[in-house]
């Protein structure tokens, strides 16, 4: 009998025990979504980079004090967060509070004739002032609003339901589109958002549905659609003036598939959602008559029963019941908003935005489940997301390449910079490939890293970092005092570490500290300028990720 014990057995057993316990704890944390959330500084920075546009000076202690759970809860109810600071900054932005009709009066669009005269050189296009102010306001909100998640989600949904402010009347309706349609519903119900978008002049115009007309007029002159709509949306109902006798006699009719296709492909089911070309056509027929009243004076949604197709329609294998003209579109939206493919498509898109470019299928499935259970409650989806282990896991950290907007805003926030959101910044965004409100295709800007990396990205981003830290962007002033180490501070490396920590909120990776130090010393000698160090860090690959 050998009673001699190997001196290593006990420690190894202990180690093994600890390992088992750790793993099972980790697993427990990984499977139970209601486990308490991580609260270390790295986790807080991670959260701030996703729930908003990155940390500002003072954010980390504030979140720590409030507690991560409580912070998330507050962000999910933006109306409860005071935002006086931002409101003050936006005070002078008159167009933000104007109705579409007022905007058209203040910034008259040119008639067809003078538009031809304008075909030559540049000059400011009509309506451009509106977009300029809206763009500045968007930047200021992203930088200064306390309602971080609301801004991120407003951007997310605007991009999901993209309209291009370079087309027709869109410059005049886009202010109201973002303010009245998107922002108030950014954390609401998906069906509500989808419906508000569908009947917005911005979308009706951008995807041409306002001109789409059925090929056969409804047999019954009583026009049930108009009646139906009157009951549902008094504000939406307008009397349609009788046709003027001088109007061209037999205006040709026909559908336009543009909205119907993007509704299925982009807004709801997704490109693999299983619909056919015939479904596109039938959806287009269902939406005939959803048009715009007075598009060039006071654009409002209008259902025009005379444009509506009177035939029976079948969408995704289901025949639309005789609900009446305008309500056929509503019926289609109901069907699409509650379709499992929509739940999946939206869930995946959210996971790509908030977690990673190739999100874990289990997470997408849980989100889709939340979507179905809550009838597309966006707030509930966000809760599922922020309480998921996948959101906090190592595979979600620093894996998203910031979009140009996120990069610019996060740099301004990290440095506590004062900005007016003016043209130099907007130009920077344009050169990086993300001009605000000017994404032409209905797909919106891409969210995947591959869309935002490459030679132009590297050049423009490093150029921006240098310009910002050297105060070469008029209207934007960086405060370097805050970054300066105490007088008589340590060596270059120590300064780099310190500045890095102030900018990123957490310690920079050692390799980066080393590289920045080397580069800074090469250029600036043994005690390099804080300005230079900050510029190198903000332009570094690490700062491009979130």
């Amino acid at each position: 009998m050998n009673r001699r014990r190997d001196p290593f057995t006990v420690p190894i057993l202990l180690l093994f025990l600890i390992l088992v316990l750790t793993v099972s704890f980790a697993q427990a944390a990984g499977t139970k979504s209601d486990a308490s959330l991580p609260s270390d500084d790295e986790a807080i920075v991670h959260l701030l980079n996703r729930i908003g546009y990155g940390p500002r000076p003072g954010d980390i202690p504030e979140v720590r004090k409030l507690g991560i759970d409580e912070f998330i809860e507050k962000q999910l109810s933006p109306d409860t967060i005071p935002d006086a600071g931002l409101e003050m900054r936006l005070e002078g932005f008159k167009t933000l509070k104007m109705t579409t009709a007022e905007l058209i009066e203040a910034f008259p669009p040119q008639g067809p004739k003078s538009r031809q005269a304008n075909a030559q050189p540049r000059g400011r296009r009509p309506g451009q002032e509106i977009i300029l102010e809206l763009s500045k306001a968007k930047l200021l909100r992203a930088v200064y609003s306390e309602r971080r998640l609301q801004e991120v989600m407003t951007d997310f949904w605007f991009n999901h339901f993209n309209v291009f402010a370079g087309k027709g009347i869109v410059p005049w309706v886009v202010t109201s589109y973002e303010r009245d349609v998107i922002r108030p519903r950014a954390l609401g119900k998906f069906r509500d958002l989808l419906g508000a978008v569908a009947e917005s002049p911005a979308m009706l115009f951008y995807l041409d549905n306002w001109m789409s007309a059925g090929t056969s007029p409804p047999a019954d002159a009583g026009d049930p659609g108009r009646q139906a709509l009157r009951g549902r949306h008094p504000r939406w109902f307008r009397d349609i003036p009788p046709p003027r006798p001088e109007a061209r006699p037999a205006k040709r009719r026909g559908i336009n598939e543009n909205y119907a296709r993007e509704l299925l492909e982009l807004h709801t089911l997704g490109v693999d959602g299983g619909y056919t070309q015939e479904d596109v056509r039938q959806v287009a027929l269902a939406f005939t008559g959803w048009t715009i009243a007075e598009p060039r004076r006071d654009p409002r949604a209008l259902f025009n029963g005379r444009m509506h197709d009177g035939n029976q329609k079948t969408v995704l294998g289901r025949t639309i019941p005789p609900v009446g003209g305008a309500k056929e579109g509503d019926w289609v939206l109901d069907l699409l908003a509650r379709h499992p493919k929509t739940a999946e498509h939206i869930s995946r898109k959210l996971a790509v935005h908030f977690v990673s470019d190739d999100p874990p299928p289990a997470l997408v499935a849980r989100l889709a489940d939340t979507f179905r259970r809550t009838d597309g409650d966006i707030r509930a989806l966000m809760k599922t997301l922020f309480h998921s282990p996948e959101f906090w896991g190592p595979k979600a950290r620093q894996v998203k390449t910031k979009t140009p907007l996120h990069l610019v805003v996060s740099a301004l926030r990290a440095t506590g910079t004062e900005t007016d959101g003016g043209l130099p910044l907007l130009r920077t965004l344009r050169e990086m490939g993300e001009p605000l409100y000017l994404c032409q295709p209905p797909t919106g800007y891409k969210d995947e890293s591959s869309a935002w990396t490459g030679s132009n990205a590297t050049l423009q981003r490093t150029r921006f970092a240098a310009a910002l830290t050297e105060n070469r962007l008029p209207g934007t002033r960086i405060d370097l005092e805050r970054l300066s180490p105490p007088a008589g501070g340590g060596n270059a490396r120590g300064t780099v570490s310190l500045v890095g920590r102030l900018l990123a909120g957490v310690d920079l990776p050692e390799t980066l500290v080393e590289k920045v130090t080397r580069s800074a010393v090469e250029e600036g000698g043994p005690s390099p300028d804080v300005r230079r160090i900050a510029g190198l860090i903000l332009g570094s690959p690490a700062f491009q990720a979130r």
Partner: protein, 397 residues
Amino acid sequence: MLTRRRFIADSMTAAGFLLAAPLSGLGSSPAPESSGRRRKVLVVVFQRGGADGLSMVAPHGDPALSRNRPGIGIPKSGDTDWVIDLDGFFGLHPALSPLLPFWRDKRLAIVHAVGSHDPTRSHFEAQDYMENGTPGTKRTPDGWLARALRQEGGNGLRSLALTHNLPLALRGDPTALAFPSLASLAGLGKLRGYETIYGPDERVFEIVERLRALGLSRLPIGDPGASPRSPFGQAMREMSQVIKADAGLRAGFIETAGWDTHVNQGGSRGILANRLKDLAEGLAAFARDLGQKLDDVIVLTMTEFGRTARENGNRGTDHGHGTAFFVLGGDVRGGKVYGRWPGLRPQDLYEGRDLAVTTDFRDVAAALLAGHLGIPNLQTVFPGHAPRHEIATQVLG
């Protein structure tokens, strides 16, 4: 009854025979690049949004055309602005008249009823397929142009996209560069220091330095007024500068937007005509600017799909299928419309509504890669697709 014209092209299916030059690269032996042969360049112009092939190159000899398009057709004759007849059957949109001299010089060829056989009518999906070169397979991470260029040595300025972001067609070429314009490279003098941080794998700083050293701004650019002021015209002008600088460029990529003409696309004049004018003026200025150098260059225009054969309710057209590509350059056996014409009668149309695709876009691309750039291995460029360029060798004998 089959008209004579419907046969023209039957004998010349696929696109490999576009090339007038001896096809030494077609087949297995790569073109000897270093041994004195001049460097060939392929420039892809992508018309994003789905350009209407039936307006760009109108089959005016097909009686079904005007029946399908009463409101947006281009008149066969009239006071002004009628279709420019090319061969008795096809005609050029009047706004494309700047391209006519190149057609007459046989340096402009057209491929019609070309596109992808994938049925998608989604912009982004169809664009991705046309750029990754694997229709039906989304996950292909790189582009066909990149896979072709990877077969070449060298790490200089091999490919350049004058776009904000690297297009999928060039993704996967480690040397590919993308800038919206060369002018955007100005004022980068203060960027030194980032090389250390990005490390030797990020070559953009070095290449920008070299681009600047080439003194691009000092290059003769012909008559600057000759290029349209539009972003497309300026991009074409800059591309010709880079080509003339002889910096090793093999492939260029330029994109142009505004082709998604759902509403009021117009006939001889209008929205589409304006876009076509820009396209033609940009291409023509590019070709003129290159002068002799055009002998070494081919421009291929592509677009993700064509548009419905019938106009829609708003004098526009919706997403369709087959379309037309232009091939412009020195090596081109031009003055001809290639491809089999499928016809426009209801029974001829793809899914009853669109011009059918009779030439796979990959056959056009493959012919140019092999015959012009001398890319040896097309199997890895278009996996699972056997390009039909054997016909090309027959035709050119």
